[in-house]
Symmetry: C2
Subunit: 392 residues, 2 copies
């Protein structure tokens, strides 16, 4: 059901022929209202794909009625011609739906530096529009997959204090954070909550900061990342900012976790939690340094609880970013305190990394009361294989 679980939405996923595999590659998500509220966050990469440039403008007024998404081509680094292709995509979608092009968000994912096969793409939109349906969410989620092995969807159901039901639905593709791995992270969230554009935008930014921004599969950031939230208001439920933020955060957290679990070539999902930091930002910075250590990530692949590599990574965080004393650092891996006060703790042989996919690393800075968790993956032969054999 995914993006079509909330009331007021239809979706479709079809095969336009952009993917050489012949799998479905074009998705439409349409908001039938009564509201046409929209918000979106985008990659912070300075090299931005044409659809990101387009969608950022289109959503600036807090209004959008549809999202058109394609896999099989990122339309990034394609110059003015690529932007014209995105523009035509929005116009064609708008015509097919009887709406304004300025209310169509466009998302693309796939190879960088190649023009899209526009005749195929436009024909795909024409084919998708007539089959839009309130049951089309699953097809849409499948059509945006690239190296994903499973579609990623979520539904969060809530009630207002008065008992009125409303929900958030979502679909996502990708293997990383808002700075994801091999290819782009795209996510469309829908809700039938009755909210205004400022509320939607504020909730979405808070939710992504606490979820997708804390997933770092391989430290690489795409040119195409987009997370969009559409609100139809169709449930009639007036929802507070706090409640919307909570539900959207729950949806994003589930999708983010699903992306980590499906990251390219990974054999372990690694949660790096930093506790007793001076600030939450300091905790995130320390956790991110560890999740970006190729040496530590390779050690996890080898089922080696290598706390020395954890400390070496923590030590690269500048003192102005995170306060701590090196001789006070504690590290636990899967609950075993193998590093105490910056030195040897419990026997590393007590740590079993081989029997579960999840690995939990906890770093105690002894510098405050804030904490944060960043998710990542191990560095594996399969990661190297997929990213050396695949051209994106």
């Amino acid at each position: 059901m995914t993006v079509t679980h909330p009331q007021g939405f239809r979706a479709a996923g079809v095969t336009a022929g952009l993917k050489t595999s012949g799998r479905s590659d074009l998705a439409l998500v349409v908001n039938d209202g009564p509201l046409a509220v929209a918000a979106a966050v985008f990659t912070t990469n300075r090299v931005q794909a044409a659809p990101v440039v387009w969608s950022r403008q289109a959503v600036a007024d807090g209004v959008a009625q549809a999202v058109v998404l394609n896999s099989g081509g990122a339309n990034a680094c394609t110059g003015p011609e690529g932007f014209a292709d995105t523009h035509r995509t929005a116009e064609h979608t708008a015509t097919a739906l009887g709406i304004s092009a300025g209310d169509v968000l466009v998302c693309s994912t796939g190879l960088i530096g190649e023009r899209l096969a526009m005749p195929l793409l436009l024909a795909g939109i024409s084919a998708a529009a007539p089959v839009l349906s309130a049951d089309g969410g699953a097809d849409a989620a499948t059509a945006i997959m690239t190296t994903d092995t499973v579609p990623k969807t979520v539904v969060v159901e809530r009630r207002t204090p008065e008992g009125q039901p409303w929900s958030v639905g979502g679909m996502a593709k990708g293997a990383g954070m808002l700075a994801p791995g091999l290819a782009t992270m795209l996510c469309v969230l829908t809700t039938d909550a009755h909210v205004d554009a400022v509320t939607a935008d504020t909730a979405l930014r808070a939710a992504t900061a606490a979820t997708f921004d804390r997933v770092d599969s391989d430290g690489c950031m795409s040119t195409n990342d987009t997370v969009a939230l559409l609100a139809s208001g169709a449930s009639g439920a007036a929802v507070s900012l706090a409640d919307l933020t909570d539900a959207v955060t729950a949806a994003c957290a589930a999708l983010a976790r699903a992306m980590v679990g499906d990251a390219e070539g990974a054999s372990h999902d690694i949660a790096v939690s930093v506790v007793n930091a001076e600030t939450e930002q300091a905790a995130v910075a320390v956790a991110r340094a560890v999740t970006r250590s190729n040496l530590f990530k390779a050690a996890v692949f080898g089922n080696d609880p290598n706390w020395g590599r954890v400390l070496a990574a923590v030590g690269t965080v500048p003192v102005e970013v995170a306060a701590y004393e090196a001789d006070q650092l504690d590290v636990a891996i899967n609950g075993v305190q193998i590093c105490r006060a910056g030195g040897v703790g419990a026997d590393r042989a007590l740590v079993d990394l081989s029997s579960a996919r999840e690995v939990h690393v906890e770093i105690d800075l002894h510098a405050g009361a804030a904490s944060a968790t960043v998710w990542s993956n191990d560095l594996t032969h399969d990661y190297v294989h997929e990213n050396s054999a695949y051209s994106s």
Copy 2:
């Protein structure tokens, strides 16, 4: 000849038994003067091994007469006991050589978080002192190897304007920069130039900033990195700061290049040059972002000239760090201009990465006149294997 090529130095390399392989693992380098000038630079990691803490203090007065180096153990994250071990190492060396412990620099490399086998280490020092010789440089260079497949040495010969000969010799181990790869980077440089401590320190800092600081094998920084320069003055040649800097830089550049060429598991050495940057720092920042992209490094392993991944990495550098316009970026790989003005350039099929180990990437920012090159390696199956199977 290496560190014993300049006049006034003796060295030795012996087997203390610290390495399970049974290979030599203890080196001594002694400056017989007449000068005992010394300078050193160390890792900027906040988690610092005991020998780094010791040597930083010992060299602070610009005087040192010997360096004792061991492989087979990093003596990092070993607490006050580990520091006491380093202190004993310096004392024992000093006694064996008839000098002061405060004039002995100590360097260690190997596993983090384990105490050194001190009886073996001290016996090794006792065995090395009597065999110190002016021909011992090669033995010393071999004894500091860990995963290095070849010893890394250099000799730079110069003459003063008056024709008086002097030289710089050096040895190094490691697979990366001052923030190296699997294990530590250690480097000892010697010179018979007649210079003071301030000149030696200034020359060494300038040389390492332009060489070792611009090698980034895998973005990971060790707890033990040390580069030391000893000056004996034995040639009698009074050398200017400019001339010493030039010669030490040449020596460091050769050793840095040798480390890249021997980096763990690498199949390509990658030179990322950024040209027409506003400042040299901006050029370094952009180059470093590319050398830290696992996606790009994996693509090079697959002989894929993936300029899209280059641009995606360049795009992560904040505007306050490096000025450029994304739609003006040019990228050439091995001389083929495959990206022009942020878009498609020459046919990528024209780029051949498979026939040579060296890969040259040139990024033109069109934002100024400064440039810099950072060296790195590709991300390979062997890197993952070595760093998941090896515990450090």
